[in-house]
C-alpha cells in the first residue's frame, strides 16, 4: 500500500478525529479567552496584589510543560473527580493558553493611548465604563493578529491530549501507524490535516481582522 492509498483509506476514520480536535481546541480557546481577559485585568489593575496574583499564574503556567498540565488535569484529577478526557484536556488547554492570552490582552490594553481614557473620564464616564466602551473595543481589535497566532499554536498543541487517550487527530495517526507500520506516511498524513485546519483558521482570523479594522481605515458603514 502506498501513501495515497493509505490517505484515501483513512479518510472516514479521520472524520471524528477532526471534529474532536476542533472541539477540544475551541473549548480550550473559549476557556483561555475568559481566563486571559480576567488575568489581563488583574495585570493592568492599579492594585499591586492583583498584579502579583496574575504574575504568579502566568509564571506557573508558562514555567511548566503543557503535557504536565494535561496529565495533572486528567490523571491527577481523576483520583478525585473524573471530568472525562474532553473536559480535562479542554480545561488544561484553556489554563495553558489563558496565560499567553492574558499577556496578549494586557499588551493590547496598554497600547491604547492614555488620552482615550482621559477623554472618556473628562466626559464623566466611570473608569469601568471607559474601559468597557472606549479602551476594550480598541484593544480587542489590536489583539486579533497576536490572538490568531495563539489560536494556531493552541490548535497544534491540542495534539498533546492524544496522550491521555483523547481520540484527536494525532491519536488517530498513532493508531494508524501501529496497525499499518507505515510511520512516515501516517505522520505526514496527519501533518496535512493540521495544515488544512491552520489554513482555515488563518482565513477566519483574517476575515475577522478585516471586518473589524474598517472604522480604523475610516470607512463609513452606517
Amino acid at each position: 500500500m502506498g501513501f495515497w492509498e493509505l490517505f484515501i483509506e483513512t479518510i472516514p476514520g479521520y472524520k471524528d478525529a477532526i471534529i474532536n480536535t476542533i472541539n477540544i481546541t475551541l473549548l480550550g480557546l473559549l476557556i483561555g479567552l475568559g481566563i486571559g481577559l480576567f488575568f489581563a485585568f488583574l495585570k493592568v489593575s492599579k492594585l499591586k496584589v492583583l498584579n502579583i496574583i496574575a504574575d504568579m499564574y502566568i509564571y506557573l503556567v508558562r514555567g511548566t510543560p503543557l503535557i504536565v498540565q494535561i496529565f495533572i488535569l486528567y490523571f491527577g484529577l481523576v483520583q478525585f473527580v473524573d471530568l472525562g478526557r474532553l473536559l480535562s484536556g479542554g480545561i488544561a488547554l484553556g489554563i495553558h493558553n489563558g496565560a499567553y492570552i492574558a499577556e496578549i490582552f494586557r499588551g493590547s490594553i496598554q497600547s491604547i493611548d492614555r488620552g482615550q481614557t482621559e477623554a472618556a473620564r473628562s466626559l464623566g464616564m466611570t473608569s469601568t465604563m471607559s474601559m468597557r466602551r472606549i479602551v476594550l473595543p480598541q484593544a480587542l481589535r489590536r489583539a486579533i493578529p497576536p490572538l490568531g497566532n495563539q489560536f494556531i499554536i493552541a490548535l497544534k498543541d491540542s495534539s498533546l491530549v492524544a496522550f491521555i487517550g483523547f481520540q484527536d487527530l494525532f491519536n488517530r495517526a498513532q493508531r494508524i501507524q501501529s496497525s499499518t507500520g507505515m510511520a512516515m506516511e501516517s505522520y505526514i498524513i496527519v501533518g496535512i490535516y493540521y495544515l488544512i485546519l491552520v489554513l482555515i483558521l488563518t482565513f477566519i482570523v483574517n476575515r475577522i481582522e478585516r471586518a473589524l479594522s474598517k472604522s480604523e481605515r475610516g470607512v463609513d458603514h452606517e
Binding site: 472604522s215 475610516g218 463609513d220
Partner: protein
C-alpha cells in the same frame, strides 16, 4: 448660582511628580463667564494646573473649589464633577472606533442616560455649531486635525458643561488649521462660556482673554488684563518670556 460665586477657586494647590515639585502653592480664581489664558514656557506647570482642575491629575495639597463646592477626590463623585467641566486636549483624543456623531453622543447616552434620538438631536446641534454636521457619519480618521479638534469641542460642549478647559488645543495642528479652531473658541467666549485655556497663541490671548496668567516653574508670576501683561508686564521674567514668543 449667585453671580459672585467663582466658577473655580484654587487655594495653595501643590502637585508633585515623584520628587519634582511642579505646582507650588498656586492660588487662582476663575470667575463665571471669564476667559482666562494660561501662558508660560513648556514645563512651567500650566498644563498640569489645568489637568488638576478636573482631577485628571490629583492634587497633593491645597483646595480646588468648583462652583462653591470644595471637592474632595476621596469622598466626592468626580464623575459628576467632571460632567460640569468640559475638556479639550492637544491630541484631540477622539474615539477612533466611533463615528463623529458616535463620539459626540457617547457620553450623552452612557453618562446622561439619554435615549439615542434625543442624544443625536443634541449632538447634531453641536456639530452644526462647529460647522461639521455633514461629517456626522464618518470616522475621525478621515478628518483633518482642525476638524478633529472641532469635533472634540462639540463632544465636550454636548454635555452642556458650565465651563471648558482647553489644553493647548492648537499645538497639534498644522498652522493653516489653527484659525478654524480658534474661531470656534472665540465664538464660545462671546457666548459667555467660562474658559480656561492653555495656549501658545498669543494673538488669541490678546484678543479673547479677559485675563492672562503667566506661569514659570510651577508658580504664577503675574496675571492681569491682556493689555497690561503684553504691554507693560511688571515682572522681568514675564517680559523676557514675552519677548521670546512675540
Amino acid at each position: 448660582m449667585s453671580k459672585q460665586q467663582p466658577a473655580i477657586e484654587v487655594k495653595s494647590l501643590n502637585k508633585y511628580f515623584g520628587k519634582l515639585h511642579v505646582l507650588k502653592d498656586i492660588d487662582m480664581t476663575i470667575n463665571e463667564n471669564e476667559v482666562v489664558v494660561l501662558i508660560g514656557a513648556s514645563g512651567s506647570g500650566k498644563s498640569t494646573l489645568l489637568r488638576c482642575l478636573n482631577f485628571l491629575e490629583m492634587k497633593n495639597g491645597g483646595e480646588i473649589i468648583i462652583e462653591g463646592e470644595n471637592i474632595d477626590p476621596k469622598k466626592d463623585n468626580l464623575n459628576t464633577v467632571r460632567q460640569r467641566i468640559g475638556m479639550v486636549f492637544q491630541h484631540f483624543n477622539l474615539f477612533p472606533h466611533k463615528t463623529v456623531i458616535g463620539n459626540v453622543i457617547e457620553a450623552l447616552i452612557h453618562v446622561k442616560k439619554m435615549n439615542k434620538e434625543e442624544a443625536v438631536t443634541i449632538g447634531m446641534e453641536y456639530l452644526e455649531k462647529v460647522g461639521l454636521a455633514e461629517k456626522a457619519k464618518v470616522y475621525p480618521r478621515t478628518l483633518s486635525g482642525g476638524q478633529k479638534q472641532r469635533v472634540a469641542i462639540a463632544r465636550a460642549l454636548a454635555m452642556e458643561p458650565d465651563m471648558m478647559l482647553f489644553d493647548e488645543p492648537t499645538s497639534g495642528l498644522d498652522p493653516e488649521l489653527v484659525g478654524e479652531v480658534l474661531e470656534v473658541m472665540k465664538n464660545l467666549a462671546k457666548e459667555g462660556m467660562t474658559m480656561v485655556v492653555v495656549t501658545h497663541e498669543m494673538g488669541f490671548a490678546r484678543e479673547v482673554a479677559d485675563r492672562v496668567v503667566y506661569m514659570d516653574q510651577g508658580v504664577i508670576i503675574e496675571e492681569g488684563a491682556p493689555d497690561v501683561i503684553f504691554e507693560q508686564a511688571a515682572e522681568e521674567r514675564t517680559q523676557e518670556f514675552l519677548s521670546r514668543v512675540l
